[in-house]
Symmetry: C2
Subunit: 375 residues, 2 copies
């Protein structure tokens, strides 16, 4: 079992025991986080970022780690999330393998990795853990809570479970509940991992590792993270040249890679498979399927969202997102508005699908920057 | 190796050798077909149906096989494809495992199944083989050529390779060329099969069969055949009850089925995996990736389509189709119109995605019926 922790990561211990929503508790668990900028004297300029499934806490370069982070163009002095003004915190999700405690971490009860002995993980557990980090940093209320993708779910859970935790909220390509198409995709990704004999019911190691299953899961992910429209323009029907085809496929494989789009997926998969723990992937993936804010108020999503109290909110998404479709960001804005927030829904005409917030900085940068500047 | 041939199937031998587009030839190959209605004295009332990837030639009940076919509500006396007026032929695709020669058939050179010794299969080969059946039945020109999904590709190939083969054409949820999103999905389906150790480079048998790979491929197929919109209404977030969950998962599997949508996919997969030959699936799947009419005229899709000469044409698709998106049916209509046809593009507001033509008979029935009645 390997964890993948960037240098400069800092930690805050969670209460021990840390009770989990669906039962059980973690003992001796911790959260990984990084920060940018400075908390002002009033303690009222803090911004928390909660992330999608795979990112670590290193959203951007900072003193502890000068390497570019996964949201580098968004975060820094003078950037949309301006660290000259805001004290920004990013946490690695509970259940991940990038510093925060998860299925790949050592279970103190057995002195071995948890693997499938990790308790059921819910989005709400990640929200509670993220809030604990904020409180331990001496912050009573966030100026703004920002959640992307899965983090959009985490943010809604945090707002519902910890009223008053944030004055403002930005929900990016998020969702108030998992819908069947997304559940189906994630279920298939998990099945690909579980079908790999080397997954071995969670008991793999570096030498016997479910690489094929992870590759399949990642490719399916990348397909649903982008959009057909983008790929039409980007790849069309362009083929690999013969030397590329030969390099990428075994002689005896008549069904090897032939089109650029296949090679693109293969490259993505190869870069990912050994950098994310398979059991962590399974736990985080399923926590999204379980998530629905509707359970807060009589199975009513709108009424549940309306219970959230923030002053201003922004819900953004891409028109081409098939995994967290735009309609879900519209619902979030409507629900927050019903709760009294000055809520804006901002559909972005980005061709990059669900991943647009990670690449279409021309659109997402100003949207986030203008909102924060208006506070 | 098993073929899956419905009773009442009839056969026509292909010329031997039957040359294949990408090289090689078949010897002693045959095509499976069924018919409905009667060819009139003038021989001018014939309609040919070319199918999607998996159907057999049994589109509807007939004298040879009274069981319902895969397009039963569309085909019969008084139905949209009215067999009181039309003499209808449906062929099983070349390369399939339902009667026509394919990778699961016996290779006369070795007296064993072809498996991966089957030559490269192109959509154009299927078109040539289908046209041979029509000619052998004594028909010089079809009144109408109807192609669904992959059959929409086959139909365009037939029209281009055999000018004058049909006076009229209906293209349903078809495409003039495979685009990268669809290629990516199919590539992943093939990879799922090939990754299954029991695929064994094509050398499986009934006892050692790539069931897991076929299950994954089919589930991914079903996800892309339907639409998120339909599933939201159909499944929402409804869970299986505990006894259903227990019945469908092993005790030791903490990631088993939980939501109705997962069970739906599992049911589809189980019904399919042993009813379609995996090698045939691989060959047919890749033939679609290779297909592009653009190669006919200087890599220009519109100019290539405009070379097709038919009198009237109808291109239909569903607004929610993500695999053969509506835009592709619009292109077909535009290209045929550019060639001089009286071509109609008819977008259907069906929630069922690519599969709509197999379920939304309320919309697709009148569209096809009215077009045929107008001829």
């Amino acid at each position: 079992m390997t964890e993948f922790i960037p240098p400069g990561t800092r930690y805050i211990d969670l209460p021990s025991p840390f009770p989990m929503k669906r039962g059980g508790a973690l003992h001796g668990a911790r959260m990984a986080y990084e920060t940018w900028g400075r908390l002002n004297a009033a303690g009222d300029n803090a911004v928390l970022i909660v992330t999608g499934l795979s990112p670590d806490a290193h959203a951007a370069a900072n003193a502890g780690n000068p390497q570019d982070g996964w949201w580098e163009p968004m975060l820094g002095p003078g950037k949309p999330i301006d660290t000259d003004r805001w004290f920004v915190i990013c946490v690695n999700s509970l259940g991940s393998c990038k510093g925060s405690t998860g299925p790949a971490s050592i279970n103190p009860a057995s002195a071995a990795p948890y693997r499938l002995d990790f308790p059921d993980l819910s989005i709400e557990d990640g929200a509670d853990a993220a809030w604990h980090v904020v409180r331990q940093l001496g912050i009573g209320q966030l100026a703004c809570l920002i959640g992307n993708s899965m983090g959009g779910m985490t943010a809604l859970a945090l707002l519902l479970r910890h009223p008053g935790c944030a004055r403002h909220h930005i929900n990016i390509s998020g969702s108030a509940q998992a819908l069947p198409f997304s559940i189906a995709i994630r279920s298939l990704q998990r099945e690909a991992i579980r079908l790999d004999p080397q997954w071995n019911n969670g008991n793999y190691d570096d030498d016997c590792y479910p690489e094929s299953g992870m590759r399949m899961a990642r490719k399916l992910g990348v397909i649903t993270y982008r959009s057909a429209l983008e790929w039409d323009g980007r790849f069309g029907r362009v083929r690999l040249d013969q030397s590329q085809q030969d390099a990428q496929r075994a002689e005896e494989d008549p069904f090897g890679l032939e089109f650029q789009v296949e090679s693109y997926l293969e490259g993505h998969a190869r870069r990912f498979v050994r950098k994310f723990d398979p059991n962590c992937y399974l736990y985080l993936s399923r926590s999204m399927d379980w998530f629905s804010v509707a359970e807060n108020v009589g199975d009513d999503m709108l009424a549940s969202l309306a219970r959230i109290q923030v002053q201003k909110a922004l819900a953004i998404g891409a028109t081409t997102d098939i995994l967290f479709p735009l309609e879900q960001q519209r619902q979030i804005a409507e629900g927050l508005a019903a709760g009294g927030a000055q809520a804006t829904f901002m559909p972005m005409d980005s061709p990059q699908g669900h991943d647009a917030f990670l690449v279409d900085y021309q659109r997402f940068g100003p949207a986030v920057g203008d909102f924060l500047a208006s506070l």
